[in-house]
Protein backbone atom coordinates (compact mmCIF):
# COMPACT_ATOMS: atom_id res chain seq x y z
CA UNK A 1 0.00 0.00 0.00
CA UNK A 2 2.66 2.51 1.06
CA UNK A 3 4.85 1.30 -1.79
CA UNK A 4 2.00 1.86 -4.22
CA UNK A 5 1.34 5.40 -3.00
CA UNK A 6 5.06 6.19 -3.13
CA UNK A 7 5.40 4.97 -6.74
CA UNK A 8 2.38 7.00 -7.75
CA UNK A 9 3.69 10.07 -5.94
CA UNK A 10 7.06 9.87 -7.65
CA UNK A 11 5.27 9.37 -10.94
CA UNK A 12 3.13 12.48 -10.37
CA UNK A 13 6.23 14.55 -9.69
CA UNK A 14 7.78 13.15 -12.88
CA UNK A 15 4.72 14.13 -14.92
CA UNK A 16 4.84 17.64 -13.46
CA UNK A 17 8.52 17.86 -14.31
CA UNK A 18 7.92 16.79 -17.92
CA UNK A 19 5.05 19.26 -18.23
CA UNK A 20 7.20 22.09 -16.91
CA UNK A 21 9.82 21.16 -19.56
CA UNK A 22 7.13 21.19 -22.25
CA UNK A 23 5.65 24.52 -21.19
CA UNK A 24 9.05 26.10 -20.64
CA UNK A 25 10.23 24.74 -23.99
CA UNK A 26 7.09 25.99 -25.72
CA UNK A 27 7.53 29.53 -24.46
CA UNK A 28 11.32 29.76 -24.73
CA UNK A 29 12.37 27.68 -27.71
CA UNK A 30 9.51 28.53 -30.06
CA UNK A 31 10.03 32.19 -30.81
CA UNK A 32 12.12 34.77 -29.00
CA UNK A 33 11.64 34.68 -25.23
CA UNK A 34 12.72 38.33 -24.90
CA UNK A 35 10.00 39.41 -27.27
CA UNK A 36 7.44 37.18 -25.57
CA UNK A 37 8.26 37.81 -21.93
CA UNK A 38 8.94 41.54 -21.99
CA UNK A 39 6.31 44.16 -22.55
CA UNK A 40 6.80 45.43 -26.15
CA UNK A 41 6.50 49.04 -24.96
CA UNK A 42 9.55 48.77 -22.69
CA UNK A 43 12.63 50.90 -23.60
CA UNK A 44 16.17 49.57 -24.13
CA UNK A 45 17.34 50.08 -20.53
CA UNK A 46 14.21 48.37 -19.23
CA UNK A 47 14.71 45.49 -21.67
CA UNK A 48 18.27 44.96 -20.47
CA UNK A 49 17.24 45.19 -16.84
CA UNK A 50 14.49 42.59 -17.30
CA UNK A 51 16.77 40.31 -19.33
CA UNK A 52 19.22 40.31 -16.42
CA UNK A 53 16.46 39.94 -13.87
CA UNK A 54 14.90 36.98 -15.66
CA UNK A 55 18.30 35.46 -16.30
CA UNK A 56 17.78 35.39 -20.06
CA UNK A 57 21.49 36.09 -20.61
CA UNK A 58 22.32 32.78 -18.92
CA UNK A 59 22.44 29.28 -20.55
CA UNK A 60 19.07 27.61 -21.17
CA UNK A 61 19.62 24.89 -18.56
CA UNK A 62 20.29 27.52 -15.91
CA UNK A 63 17.19 29.47 -16.99
CA UNK A 64 15.08 26.37 -16.65
CA UNK A 65 16.45 25.86 -13.16
CA UNK A 66 15.43 29.42 -12.21
CA UNK A 67 11.99 28.85 -13.68
CA UNK A 68 11.57 25.75 -11.50
CA UNK A 69 12.87 27.45 -8.34
CA UNK A 70 10.59 30.46 -8.84
CA UNK A 71 7.62 28.24 -9.61
CA UNK A 72 8.22 26.42 -6.32
CA UNK A 73 8.18 29.74 -4.50
CA UNK A 74 4.83 30.47 -6.14
CA UNK A 75 6.29 33.14 -8.42
CA UNK A 76 5.11 32.45 -11.94
CA UNK A 77 5.75 35.95 -13.28
CA UNK A 78 3.48 38.98 -13.68
CA UNK A 79 0.81 39.60 -16.28
CA UNK A 80 1.62 42.14 -19.03
CA UNK A 81 -1.97 43.27 -19.24
CA UNK A 82 -2.99 43.51 -15.60
CA UNK A 83 0.46 44.12 -14.08
CA UNK A 84 -0.38 41.74 -11.26
CA UNK A 85 1.18 38.38 -10.34
CA UNK A 86 -0.20 35.71 -12.68
CA UNK A 87 -0.87 33.35 -9.81
CA UNK A 88 -3.02 35.93 -8.03
CA UNK A 89 -5.07 36.57 -11.19
CA UNK A 90 -5.80 32.89 -11.61
CA UNK A 91 -6.72 32.36 -7.97
CA UNK A 92 -9.06 35.35 -8.15
CA UNK A 93 -10.97 33.71 -10.99
CA UNK A 94 -11.03 30.24 -9.52
CA UNK A 95 -14.27 30.64 -7.47
CA UNK A 96 -16.26 31.58 -10.59
CA UNK A 97 -15.10 28.44 -12.40
CA UNK A 98 -15.70 26.17 -9.41
CA UNK A 99 -19.16 27.62 -8.91
CA UNK A 100 -20.06 27.04 -12.56
CA UNK A 101 -18.71 23.47 -12.50
CA UNK A 102 -20.49 22.58 -9.24
CA UNK A 103 -23.82 23.99 -10.38
CA UNK A 104 -23.60 22.17 -13.70
CA UNK A 105 -22.76 18.94 -11.87
CA UNK A 106 -25.91 19.48 -9.78
CA UNK A 107 -28.03 20.11 -12.90
CA UNK A 108 -26.67 17.05 -14.69
CA UNK A 109 -27.45 14.79 -11.73
CA UNK A 110 -31.02 15.98 -11.16
CA UNK A 111 -31.83 15.68 -14.86
CA UNK A 112 -29.93 12.53 -15.77
CA UNK A 113 -30.61 10.20 -12.83
CA UNK A 114 -34.43 10.16 -13.14
CA UNK A 115 -34.22 9.80 -16.93
CA UNK A 116 -31.61 7.04 -16.63
CA UNK A 117 -33.65 5.10 -14.05
CA UNK A 118 -36.75 5.43 -16.23
CA UNK A 119 -34.88 4.18 -19.31
CA UNK A 120 -33.37 1.29 -17.35
CA UNK A 121 -36.69 0.39 -15.73
CA UNK A 122 -38.68 0.37 -18.99
CA UNK A 123 -35.95 -0.46 -21.53
CA UNK A 124 -38.36 -1.15 -24.39
CA UNK A 125 -40.76 1.77 -24.07
CA UNK A 126 -40.88 4.51 -26.69
CA UNK A 127 -39.86 7.17 -24.17
CA UNK A 128 -36.73 5.20 -23.23
CA UNK A 129 -35.71 4.98 -26.86
CA UNK A 130 -36.16 8.73 -27.21
CA UNK A 131 -34.03 9.25 -24.07
CA UNK A 132 -31.25 7.01 -25.38
CA UNK A 133 -31.31 8.60 -28.85
CA UNK A 134 -31.16 11.98 -27.11
CA UNK A 135 -28.08 10.89 -25.19
CA UNK A 136 -26.30 9.93 -28.44
CA UNK A 137 -27.22 13.34 -29.83
CA UNK A 138 -25.89 14.93 -26.64
CA UNK A 139 -22.56 13.19 -27.22
CA UNK A 140 -22.39 14.39 -30.81
CA UNK A 141 -23.34 18.03 -30.29
CA UNK A 142 -20.39 20.37 -29.94
CA UNK A 143 -20.71 22.17 -26.59
CA UNK A 144 -19.85 25.62 -27.90
CA UNK A 145 -22.46 25.43 -30.64
CA UNK A 146 -25.20 24.38 -28.20
CA UNK A 147 -24.14 27.34 -26.04
CA UNK A 148 -24.61 29.67 -29.00
CA UNK A 149 -28.07 28.21 -29.63
CA UNK A 150 -28.99 28.67 -25.96
CA UNK A 151 -27.98 32.32 -26.18
CA UNK A 152 -29.95 32.74 -29.39
CA UNK A 153 -33.13 31.18 -28.03
CA UNK A 154 -33.21 32.14 -24.36
CA UNK A 155 -31.31 35.42 -24.38
CA UNK A 156 -31.79 37.01 -27.81
CA UNK A 157 -35.18 35.74 -29.01
CA UNK A 158 -37.08 35.14 -25.77
CA UNK A 159 -35.07 37.47 -23.52
CA UNK A 160 -35.70 35.25 -20.49
CA UNK A 161 -32.15 34.86 -19.19
CA UNK A 162 -28.98 36.95 -19.41
CA UNK A 163 -26.26 35.51 -21.64
CA UNK A 164 -23.08 37.12 -20.36
CA UNK A 165 -21.27 37.70 -17.07
CA UNK A 166 -21.62 36.42 -13.57
CA UNK A 167 -24.32 38.61 -12.03
CA UNK A 168 -24.71 39.76 -8.44
CA UNK A 169 -22.68 38.00 -5.80
CA UNK A 170 -24.22 37.13 -2.46
CA UNK A 171 -22.63 35.96 0.77
CA UNK A 172 -23.82 32.95 2.69
CA UNK A 173 -21.93 31.44 5.61
CA UNK A 174 -18.84 33.41 4.67
CA UNK A 175 -18.76 32.14 1.10
CA UNK A 176 -19.13 34.62 -1.74
CA UNK A 177 -20.99 33.16 -4.68
CA UNK A 178 -23.46 34.22 -7.31
CA UNK A 179 -25.46 31.08 -6.45
CA UNK A 180 -26.88 32.95 -3.43
CA UNK A 181 -28.70 35.71 -5.29
CA UNK A 182 -31.59 35.46 -7.73
CA UNK A 183 -29.80 37.61 -10.27
CA UNK A 184 -26.67 35.48 -9.93
CA UNK A 185 -28.66 32.28 -10.41
CA UNK A 186 -30.26 33.64 -13.56
CA UNK A 187 -26.75 34.31 -14.92
CA UNK A 188 -25.33 30.93 -14.02
CA UNK A 189 -28.24 28.87 -15.32
CA UNK A 190 -27.55 28.90 -19.08
CA UNK A 191 -23.78 28.33 -18.91
CA UNK A 192 -24.22 25.60 -16.31
CA UNK A 193 -26.85 23.82 -18.41
CA UNK A 194 -24.56 24.08 -21.41
CA UNK A 195 -21.61 22.64 -19.52
CA UNK A 196 -23.85 19.92 -18.06
CA UNK A 197 -25.06 18.67 -21.44
CA UNK A 198 -22.21 16.26 -22.04
CA UNK A 199 -22.36 14.97 -18.45
CA UNK A 200 -26.14 14.47 -18.73
CA UNK A 201 -25.62 12.12 -21.68
CA UNK A 202 -22.99 10.05 -19.92
CA UNK A 203 -24.83 9.89 -16.59
CA UNK A 204 -28.03 8.76 -18.36
CA UNK A 205 -26.11 5.87 -19.92
CA UNK A 206 -24.44 4.98 -16.66
CA UNK A 207 -27.70 5.09 -14.66
CA UNK A 208 -29.58 3.08 -17.25
CA UNK A 209 -26.96 0.33 -17.32
CA UNK A 210 -26.83 0.24 -13.51
CA UNK A 211 -30.63 0.13 -13.15
CA UNK A 212 -30.92 -2.75 -15.60
CA UNK A 213 -28.44 -4.74 -13.54
CA UNK A 214 -29.88 -3.90 -10.12
CA UNK A 215 -33.46 -4.65 -11.12
CA UNK A 216 -32.45 -8.31 -11.64
CA UNK A 217 -30.84 -8.66 -8.19
CA UNK A 218 -32.27 -10.92 -5.48
CA UNK A 219 -32.83 -8.11 -3.02
CA UNK A 220 -35.18 -6.36 -5.44
CA UNK A 221 -37.16 -9.57 -5.92
CA UNK A 222 -37.18 -9.95 -2.13
CA UNK A 223 -38.40 -6.39 -1.63
CA UNK A 224 -41.17 -6.96 -4.13
CA UNK A 225 -42.20 -10.25 -2.56
CA UNK A 226 -42.51 -8.48 0.80
CA UNK A 227 -45.28 -6.50 -0.86
CA UNK A 228 -43.45 -3.16 -0.99
CA UNK A 229 -44.97 -0.82 -3.55
CA UNK A 230 -43.16 -0.57 -6.88
CA UNK A 231 -42.69 3.15 -6.32
CA UNK A 232 -40.84 2.47 -3.06
CA UNK A 233 -38.72 -0.24 -4.69
CA UNK A 234 -37.52 2.20 -7.33
CA UNK A 235 -37.16 5.28 -5.16
CA UNK A 236 -35.47 3.57 -2.20
CA UNK A 237 -33.85 0.31 -3.22
CA UNK A 238 -32.84 0.99 -6.82
CA UNK A 239 -31.92 4.63 -6.32
CA UNK A 240 -29.79 3.98 -3.23
CA UNK A 241 -27.76 1.28 -4.92
CA UNK A 242 -27.33 3.17 -8.13
CA UNK A 243 -26.05 6.30 -6.41
CA UNK A 244 -22.82 4.70 -5.19
CA UNK A 245 -21.20 4.07 -8.61
CA UNK A 246 -22.63 7.28 -10.09
CA UNK A 247 -21.34 9.51 -7.33
CA UNK A 248 -17.92 7.87 -7.60
CA UNK A 249 -17.62 8.26 -11.35
CA UNK A 250 -19.09 11.75 -11.48
CA UNK A 251 -16.96 12.90 -8.57
CA UNK A 252 -13.85 11.60 -10.27
CA UNK A 253 -14.77 13.31 -13.52
CA UNK A 254 -15.24 16.70 -11.89
CA UNK A 255 -11.86 17.66 -13.35
CA UNK A 256 -13.14 17.25 -16.90
CA UNK A 257 -15.93 19.75 -16.14
CA UNK A 258 -13.28 22.27 -15.16
CA UNK A 259 -11.33 21.57 -18.35
CA UNK A 260 -14.41 21.90 -20.57
CA UNK A 261 -15.52 25.06 -18.76
CA UNK A 262 -12.90 26.86 -20.89
CA UNK A 263 -15.29 26.55 -23.82
CA UNK A 264 -18.47 27.45 -21.95
CA UNK A 265 -16.83 30.40 -20.19
CA UNK A 266 -15.72 31.81 -23.54
CA UNK A 267 -19.18 31.51 -25.09
CA UNK A 268 -20.98 33.04 -22.10
CA UNK A 269 -18.24 35.55 -21.14
CA UNK A 270 -18.13 33.94 -17.70
CA UNK A 271 -15.25 35.54 -15.75
CA UNK A 272 -13.51 32.33 -14.71
CA UNK A 273 -10.08 30.75 -15.20
CA UNK A 274 -11.02 29.31 -18.60
CA UNK A 275 -11.89 32.69 -20.06
CA UNK A 276 -8.71 34.13 -18.54
CA UNK A 277 -6.50 31.62 -20.38
CA UNK A 278 -8.25 32.18 -23.72
CA UNK A 279 -8.05 35.97 -23.30
CA UNK A 280 -4.38 35.65 -22.33
CA UNK A 281 -3.65 33.62 -25.45
CA UNK A 282 -5.33 36.33 -27.57
CA UNK A 283 -3.36 39.06 -25.81
CA UNK A 284 -0.09 37.07 -25.88
CA UNK A 285 0.05 37.45 -22.09
CA UNK A 286 2.71 34.73 -21.78
CA UNK A 287 3.25 34.74 -17.99
CA UNK A 288 -0.46 34.07 -17.42
CA UNK A 289 -0.46 31.30 -20.05
CA UNK A 290 2.51 29.58 -18.43
CA UNK A 291 1.06 30.01 -14.95
CA UNK A 292 -2.36 28.69 -15.97
CA UNK A 293 -0.91 25.64 -17.69
CA UNK A 294 1.32 24.81 -14.72
CA UNK A 295 -1.53 25.26 -12.23
CA UNK A 296 -4.06 23.23 -14.20
CA UNK A 297 -1.54 20.42 -14.78
CA UNK A 298 -0.65 20.37 -11.07
CA UNK A 299 -4.35 20.28 -10.23
CA UNK A 300 -4.96 17.32 -12.53
CA UNK A 301 -1.86 15.42 -11.48
CA UNK A 302 -2.86 15.64 -7.82
CA UNK A 303 -6.52 14.93 -8.58
CA UNK A 304 -5.41 11.73 -10.31
CA UNK A 305 -3.10 10.87 -7.44
CA UNK A 306 -5.99 11.22 -4.97
CA UNK A 307 -8.23 9.14 -7.25
CA UNK A 308 -5.58 6.40 -7.39
CA UNK A 309 -5.25 6.38 -3.62
CA UNK A 310 -9.03 6.24 -3.14
CA UNK A 311 -9.15 3.32 -5.56
CA UNK A 312 -6.65 1.37 -3.47
CA UNK A 313 -9.07 1.65 -0.57
CA UNK A 314 -12.05 0.61 -2.69
CA UNK A 315 -10.42 -2.16 -4.69
CA UNK A 316 -7.88 -4.39 -2.93
CA UNK A 317 -6.66 -5.84 -6.26
CA UNK A 318 -5.04 -2.51 -7.19
CA UNK A 319 -3.25 -2.46 -3.84
CA UNK A 320 -1.81 -5.96 -4.20
CA UNK A 321 -0.63 -5.36 -7.76
CA UNK A 322 1.08 -2.13 -6.72
CA UNK A 323 2.95 -3.76 -3.84
CA UNK A 324 4.32 -6.50 -6.06
CA UNK A 325 5.80 -4.08 -8.56
Amino acid sequence: MTAFICTRFVQSILVLFIMSLLVFGGVNLVGDPVEMLINPEADQAEVERVIRELGLDRPVTEQYWYFLVNAFKGDLGSSFIFGEPALKLIIQRMPATLELALFSLFISLIIAIPLGIYAGYNPNSKASKVIMAGSILGFSMPTFWVGIIFIMIFAVQLGWLPSTGRGEIGTFMGINSSLFTLNGLSHVFLPALNLALFKISSVIRLTRAGTREIILQDYITFARSKGISEKRVVLIHVLKNILIPIVTVVGLEFGSLIAFSTVTETVFAWPGMGKLIIDSIYNLDRPVIVAYLMIIVTFFVFLNLIVDIIYTFLDPRVRIKGDHQ
Partner: protein, 292 residues
Protein backbone atom coordinates in the same frame (compact mmCIF):
# COMPACT_ATOMS: atom_id res chain seq x y z
CA UNK B 1 -17.69 -17.21 -55.58
CA UNK B 2 -14.49 -15.58 -54.44
CA UNK B 3 -14.35 -16.13 -50.63
CA UNK B 4 -13.15 -12.59 -49.98
CA UNK B 5 -16.03 -11.16 -51.97
CA UNK B 6 -18.49 -13.42 -50.14
CA UNK B 7 -17.13 -12.31 -46.80
CA UNK B 8 -17.49 -8.70 -47.86
CA UNK B 9 -21.09 -9.25 -49.02
CA UNK B 10 -21.90 -10.92 -45.70
CA UNK B 11 -20.43 -7.93 -43.91
CA UNK B 12 -22.58 -5.58 -46.01
CA UNK B 13 -25.68 -7.60 -45.21
CA UNK B 14 -24.84 -7.56 -41.52
CA UNK B 15 -24.21 -3.86 -41.60
CA UNK B 16 -27.48 -3.02 -43.35
CA UNK B 17 -29.49 -4.88 -40.70
CA UNK B 18 -29.47 -1.62 -38.74
CA UNK B 19 -31.40 0.90 -40.83
CA UNK B 20 -30.33 3.92 -38.79
CA UNK B 21 -26.65 3.07 -39.23
CA UNK B 22 -27.19 2.45 -42.95
CA UNK B 23 -28.83 5.86 -43.43
CA UNK B 24 -26.04 7.44 -41.36
CA UNK B 25 -23.46 5.74 -43.57
CA UNK B 26 -25.02 7.12 -46.76
CA UNK B 27 -25.27 10.58 -45.24
CA UNK B 28 -21.59 10.34 -44.37
CA UNK B 29 -20.74 9.27 -47.94
CA UNK B 30 -22.66 12.29 -49.22
CA UNK B 31 -20.78 14.60 -46.84
CA UNK B 32 -17.49 13.02 -47.92
CA UNK B 33 -18.40 13.57 -51.57
CA UNK B 34 -19.28 17.21 -50.94
CA UNK B 35 -16.06 17.73 -48.98
CA UNK B 36 -13.83 16.18 -51.65
CA UNK B 37 -15.51 17.89 -54.59
CA UNK B 38 -16.28 21.18 -52.81
CA UNK B 39 -14.85 23.35 -55.63
CA UNK B 40 -17.12 21.57 -58.15
CA UNK B 41 -20.38 21.37 -56.20
CA UNK B 42 -20.31 24.76 -54.46
CA UNK B 43 -22.47 27.43 -56.11
CA UNK B 44 -19.65 29.99 -55.70
CA UNK B 45 -16.04 30.10 -54.58
CA UNK B 46 -16.42 31.76 -51.16
CA UNK B 47 -12.76 32.80 -51.03
CA UNK B 48 -12.54 34.32 -54.50
CA UNK B 49 -12.53 38.06 -53.86
CA UNK B 50 -13.81 38.79 -57.38
CA UNK B 51 -17.16 37.11 -56.82
CA UNK B 52 -17.73 37.99 -53.17
CA UNK B 53 -19.37 41.36 -52.65
CA UNK B 54 -19.53 43.11 -49.32
CA UNK B 55 -22.88 44.55 -50.51
CA UNK B 56 -24.33 41.08 -49.96
CA UNK B 57 -23.26 40.80 -46.35
CA UNK B 58 -25.62 39.18 -43.85
CA UNK B 59 -28.43 38.38 -46.29
CA UNK B 60 -30.99 36.05 -44.68
CA UNK B 61 -31.61 32.54 -46.08
CA UNK B 62 -33.57 32.24 -49.36
CA UNK B 63 -32.55 35.69 -50.53
CA UNK B 64 -31.31 36.97 -53.86
CA UNK B 65 -28.92 39.82 -54.62
CA UNK B 66 -29.28 42.47 -57.35
CA UNK B 67 -27.46 40.41 -59.95
CA UNK B 68 -29.77 37.44 -59.39
CA UNK B 69 -27.47 35.23 -57.28
CA UNK B 70 -29.51 33.04 -55.00
CA UNK B 71 -28.38 32.35 -51.41
CA UNK B 72 -30.17 29.31 -50.01
CA UNK B 73 -28.67 29.62 -46.52
CA UNK B 74 -27.95 33.35 -46.63
CA UNK B 75 -24.56 35.04 -46.52
CA UNK B 76 -22.02 35.78 -43.79
CA UNK B 77 -20.58 39.09 -42.61
CA UNK B 78 -18.32 39.39 -45.66
CA UNK B 79 -21.06 38.57 -48.15
CA UNK B 80 -19.98 34.97 -48.78
CA UNK B 81 -22.58 32.37 -49.70
CA UNK B 82 -23.12 30.17 -46.63
CA UNK B 83 -23.70 26.98 -48.66
CA UNK B 84 -20.31 27.33 -50.35
CA UNK B 85 -18.57 28.34 -47.12
CA UNK B 86 -19.98 25.23 -45.41
CA UNK B 87 -18.88 22.93 -48.27
CA UNK B 88 -15.34 24.34 -48.12
CA UNK B 89 -15.45 24.21 -44.32
CA UNK B 90 -16.39 20.52 -44.39
CA UNK B 91 -13.37 19.92 -46.57
CA UNK B 92 -11.03 21.47 -44.00
CA UNK B 93 -12.75 19.89 -40.97
CA UNK B 94 -12.88 16.39 -42.45
CA UNK B 95 -9.36 16.71 -43.85
CA UNK B 96 -7.84 17.65 -40.50
CA UNK B 97 -9.95 15.08 -38.60
CA UNK B 98 -9.23 12.16 -40.92
CA UNK B 99 -5.54 12.99 -41.39
CA UNK B 100 -4.91 13.20 -37.66
CA UNK B 101 -6.92 10.00 -37.17
CA UNK B 102 -4.78 8.08 -39.67
CA UNK B 103 -1.51 9.26 -38.11
CA UNK B 104 -2.78 8.51 -34.60
CA UNK B 105 -3.88 5.04 -35.79
CA UNK B 106 -0.42 4.31 -37.20
CA UNK B 107 1.47 5.60 -34.15
CA UNK B 108 -0.95 4.12 -31.63
CA UNK B 109 -1.06 0.65 -33.18
CA UNK B 110 2.72 0.60 -33.54
CA UNK B 111 3.22 1.26 -29.83
CA UNK B 112 0.26 -0.89 -28.75
CA UNK B 113 1.27 -3.98 -30.74
CA UNK B 114 4.97 -3.68 -29.95
CA UNK B 115 4.11 -3.27 -26.24
CA UNK B 116 2.07 -6.47 -26.32
CA UNK B 117 4.74 -8.26 -28.36
CA UNK B 118 7.81 -7.41 -26.31
CA UNK B 119 6.18 -7.10 -22.88
CA UNK B 120 8.29 -6.40 -19.82
CA UNK B 121 9.52 -2.94 -18.91
CA UNK B 122 8.87 -1.57 -22.38
CA UNK B 123 5.21 -2.56 -22.13
CA UNK B 124 4.85 -1.11 -18.60
CA UNK B 125 6.41 2.17 -19.71
CA UNK B 126 4.21 2.56 -22.79
CA UNK B 127 1.01 1.62 -20.98
CA UNK B 128 1.86 3.91 -18.06
CA UNK B 129 2.26 6.83 -20.47
CA UNK B 130 -1.08 5.88 -22.06
CA UNK B 131 -2.79 5.75 -18.65
CA UNK B 132 -1.36 9.10 -17.58
CA UNK B 133 -2.39 10.74 -20.81
CA UNK B 134 -5.90 9.33 -20.68
CA UNK B 135 -6.29 10.73 -17.16
CA UNK B 136 -6.24 14.22 -18.70
CA UNK B 137 -9.36 15.36 -20.59
CA UNK B 138 -8.70 15.52 -24.34
CA UNK B 139 -9.45 19.24 -24.56
CA UNK B 140 -6.85 19.95 -21.88
CA UNK B 141 -4.13 18.01 -23.73
CA UNK B 142 -4.89 19.95 -26.91
CA UNK B 143 -5.08 23.23 -25.00
CA UNK B 144 -1.66 22.69 -23.41
CA UNK B 145 -0.01 21.99 -26.75
CA UNK B 146 -1.67 24.82 -28.66
CA UNK B 147 -1.24 27.36 -25.85
CA UNK B 148 2.46 26.53 -25.50
CA UNK B 149 3.35 26.27 -29.19
CA UNK B 150 0.81 28.58 -30.85
CA UNK B 151 -1.86 27.89 -33.45
CA UNK B 152 -1.53 26.57 -36.98
CA UNK B 153 -2.58 23.73 -39.25
CA UNK B 154 0.34 21.39 -38.45
CA UNK B 155 0.15 22.19 -34.74
CA UNK B 156 -3.57 21.45 -34.65
CA UNK B 157 -2.98 18.13 -36.41
CA UNK B 158 -0.14 17.30 -34.01
CA UNK B 159 -2.34 18.18 -31.03
CA UNK B 160 -5.15 15.96 -32.36
CA UNK B 161 -2.71 13.07 -32.97
CA UNK B 162 -1.37 13.38 -29.43
CA UNK B 163 -4.91 13.43 -28.06
CA UNK B 164 -5.91 10.29 -29.95
CA UNK B 165 -2.88 7.97 -30.16
CA UNK B 166 -3.33 6.67 -26.60
CA UNK B 167 -6.80 5.26 -27.38
CA UNK B 168 -5.43 3.37 -30.39
CA UNK B 169 -2.43 2.13 -28.40
CA UNK B 170 -4.66 0.74 -25.65
CA UNK B 171 -7.00 -0.97 -28.11
CA UNK B 172 -4.16 -2.35 -30.24
CA UNK B 173 -2.37 -3.75 -27.20
CA UNK B 174 -5.41 -5.47 -25.74
CA UNK B 175 -6.34 -7.18 -29.00
CA UNK B 176 -2.70 -8.02 -29.78
CA UNK B 177 -2.37 -9.72 -26.38
CA UNK B 178 -5.15 -12.10 -27.41
CA UNK B 179 -3.69 -12.72 -30.86
CA UNK B 180 -0.14 -13.40 -29.63
CA UNK B 181 -1.21 -16.62 -27.91
CA UNK B 182 -2.78 -18.03 -31.05
CA UNK B 183 -1.19 -20.83 -33.05
CA UNK B 184 -0.53 -18.86 -36.21
CA UNK B 185 1.86 -16.62 -34.29
CA UNK B 186 3.68 -19.68 -32.95
CA UNK B 187 3.83 -21.02 -36.50
CA UNK B 188 5.27 -17.75 -37.76
CA UNK B 189 7.85 -17.84 -34.98
CA UNK B 190 8.81 -21.41 -35.89
CA UNK B 191 9.41 -20.26 -39.45
CA UNK B 192 11.89 -17.78 -37.95
CA UNK B 193 10.13 -14.73 -39.34
CA UNK B 194 11.45 -11.42 -38.03
CA UNK B 195 9.67 -9.65 -35.19
CA UNK B 196 8.61 -6.76 -37.41
CA UNK B 197 7.09 -9.14 -39.93
CA UNK B 198 5.16 -11.06 -37.28
CA UNK B 199 3.93 -7.90 -35.60
CA UNK B 200 2.74 -6.01 -38.65
CA UNK B 201 1.99 -8.70 -41.26
CA UNK B 202 0.45 -11.32 -38.99
CA UNK B 203 -0.83 -9.72 -35.79
CA UNK B 204 -1.86 -6.28 -37.03
CA UNK B 205 -4.39 -7.46 -39.68
CA UNK B 206 -6.15 -9.51 -36.99
CA UNK B 207 -6.41 -6.48 -34.70
CA UNK B 208 -7.95 -4.27 -37.38
CA UNK B 209 -11.64 -4.72 -36.45
CA UNK B 210 -11.49 -3.10 -33.00
CA UNK B 211 -9.06 -0.48 -34.33
CA UNK B 212 -11.52 0.51 -37.04
CA UNK B 213 -14.29 0.88 -34.44
CA UNK B 214 -12.09 3.09 -32.28
CA UNK B 215 -10.99 4.89 -35.44
CA UNK B 216 -14.52 5.92 -36.47
CA UNK B 217 -15.48 7.11 -32.99
CA UNK B 218 -12.15 8.90 -32.49
CA UNK B 219 -12.36 10.63 -35.87
CA UNK B 220 -15.78 11.99 -34.93
CA UNK B 221 -14.29 13.17 -31.66
CA UNK B 222 -11.31 14.75 -33.43
CA UNK B 223 -13.56 16.68 -35.84
CA UNK B 224 -15.59 17.98 -32.93
CA UNK B 225 -12.47 18.87 -30.94
CA UNK B 226 -10.90 20.68 -33.89
CA UNK B 227 -14.10 22.71 -34.30
CA UNK B 228 -14.01 23.62 -30.61
CA UNK B 229 -10.35 24.64 -30.73
CA UNK B 230 -10.82 26.67 -33.90
CA UNK B 231 -13.88 28.35 -32.39
CA UNK B 232 -11.77 29.33 -29.37
CA UNK B 233 -9.21 30.78 -31.78
CA UNK B 234 -6.55 28.23 -30.84
CA UNK B 235 -6.81 25.75 -33.69
CA UNK B 236 -6.71 26.53 -37.39
CA UNK B 237 -5.73 29.97 -38.74
CA UNK B 238 -8.26 32.14 -40.64
CA UNK B 239 -6.70 31.03 -43.91
CA UNK B 240 -8.11 27.51 -43.35
CA UNK B 241 -11.76 28.19 -42.49
CA UNK B 242 -13.11 25.01 -40.90
CA UNK B 243 -16.67 24.66 -39.62
CA UNK B 244 -15.54 25.70 -36.14
CA UNK B 245 -14.15 28.98 -37.47
CA UNK B 246 -17.35 29.63 -39.46
CA UNK B 247 -19.41 29.16 -36.29
CA UNK B 248 -17.03 31.46 -34.42
CA UNK B 249 -17.31 34.13 -37.13
CA UNK B 250 -21.09 34.02 -36.90
CA UNK B 251 -21.08 34.27 -33.12
CA UNK B 252 -20.63 38.06 -33.12
CA UNK B 253 -23.71 38.50 -35.32
CA UNK B 254 -25.82 36.33 -33.05
CA UNK B 255 -26.79 39.16 -30.74
CA UNK B 256 -28.28 41.12 -33.62
CA UNK B 257 -30.45 38.12 -34.50
CA UNK B 258 -28.53 36.94 -37.60
CA UNK B 259 -28.75 33.34 -36.55
CA UNK B 260 -27.92 31.63 -39.87
CA UNK B 261 -24.23 32.52 -39.93
CA UNK B 262 -23.55 30.39 -36.83
CA UNK B 263 -26.39 27.88 -36.92
CA UNK B 264 -25.98 26.28 -40.36
CA UNK B 265 -22.25 25.45 -40.10
CA UNK B 266 -23.11 23.97 -36.70
CA UNK B 267 -25.86 21.83 -38.20
CA UNK B 268 -23.37 20.58 -40.82
CA UNK B 269 -20.90 19.76 -38.05
CA UNK B 270 -23.56 18.01 -35.98
CA UNK B 271 -24.74 15.88 -38.92
CA UNK B 272 -21.14 14.91 -39.75
CA UNK B 273 -20.22 13.97 -36.19
CA UNK B 274 -23.52 12.22 -35.45
CA UNK B 275 -23.44 10.15 -38.67
CA UNK B 276 -19.89 8.96 -37.95
CA UNK B 277 -20.85 8.18 -34.34
CA UNK B 278 -23.91 6.16 -35.42
CA UNK B 279 -21.84 4.14 -37.91
CA UNK B 280 -19.15 3.60 -35.26
CA UNK B 281 -21.69 2.53 -32.64
CA UNK B 282 -23.16 -0.04 -34.99
CA UNK B 283 -19.73 -1.34 -36.03
CA UNK B 284 -18.86 -1.76 -32.35
CA UNK B 285 -22.02 -3.81 -31.79
CA UNK B 286 -21.23 -5.92 -34.87
CA UNK B 287 -17.70 -6.72 -33.75
CA UNK B 288 -18.67 -7.31 -30.12
CA UNK B 289 -18.80 -11.09 -29.65
CA UNK B 290 -20.79 -10.79 -26.43
CA UNK B 291 -23.83 -9.50 -28.32
CA UNK B 292 -24.01 -12.49 -30.70
Amino acid sequence: MNPKLRKFLEFCKDFSSNKVALVAFFIFLLILFVAIFAPLVSPTDPYDLNTVSIMNSRLPPFSEDFSGNYFLLGTDGAGRDMVSAIFYGLRVSLGVGVLSGIFALIIGSFFGISAAFFGGRYESLIMRIVDIQLSFPSILVALIILAAFGKGVEKTIIALILVQWAYYARTARSSALVEINKEYVDAARCLAFGNTRIMFKHILPNCMAPLIVVGTLQTAHAISLEATLSFLGLGLPITEPSLGLLIGNGFEYMYSGDFWISIFPGVALLITVASINLVGDHLRDMFNPRLH
